[in-house]
Subunit: 102 residues, 3 copies
Amino acid sequence: MKLLKIYLGEKDKYSGKPLFEFIVKRAYELGMKGVTVYRGVMGFGHKRHIHRSDFFSLSPDLPIIIEIVDSEEKIHVFIKEIENVEFDGLVFTADVDVIRMG
Amino acid sequence: MKLLKIYLGEKDKYSGKPLFEFIVKRAYELGMKGVTVYRGVMGFGHKRHIHRSDFFSLSPDLPIIIEIVDSEEKIHVFIKEIENVEFDGLVFTADVDVIRMG
Amino acid sequence: MKLLKIYLGEKDKYSGKPLFEFIVKRAYELGMKGVTVYRGVMGFGHKRHIHRSDFFSLSPDLPIIIEIVDSEEKIHVFIKEIENVEFDGLVFTADVDVIRMG
């Protein structure tokens, strides 16, 4: 089984709506199994865009992190599903051993 | 070393008390080492039970995520310890290389 | 690529300032790529120091978790960078397959 982890900004949009909501809805529609959304307190990525207004004061664009656990096949399908969605975020997969699924 | 990750709902109960508190207390009693509890902002699992009242409005049953890092032997003992506890949650392990432990 | 995960307490200090801010600033200065900071709701580590005043009431010293995703070489450099910083925290690395980086 695979863990898919997607990092994006709270303010990232897709078709005018929050991108993380789009991703979570697609995950639901495609029947993905273990989906969890976290909010981070700060972060920065490839483009050095810091998700805080200055380094240690509050900003409105905080990191959102989505974790999905499913079979390698379904994770692969889901990656294809979102590969044309543009955002300045990190996406990785990792191997996990599922002990219990629901 | 292993990372054990347990996903459950804030409202899941064990003997009338919050399940996550039971799990964390057992981890403490058994001398597990790196134990961290997160609260997610939304999630859904195997049974398609969404941890939000409707997709994007607030619900009281938010995801709780517990991470425990310890030796393979102790993680195995801990999995046995909670395997009879019923909840609609995901549990996985993954390999990690510990650089520093406390 | 590697995931580096650092667990510490919100109150841990380095040169009189919050340790997590020092670590995040060094990560930024060294050009690390995917850096995300989370706040946990409770935790305990090697020294059995519980990051809550008693087991289930609020405490001011909550866990802070830093995730950094970068190449094995840069993660190695960063581990060297922080290895002389003293704190009661857990540090591990894990293998990840990066699908997209910014």
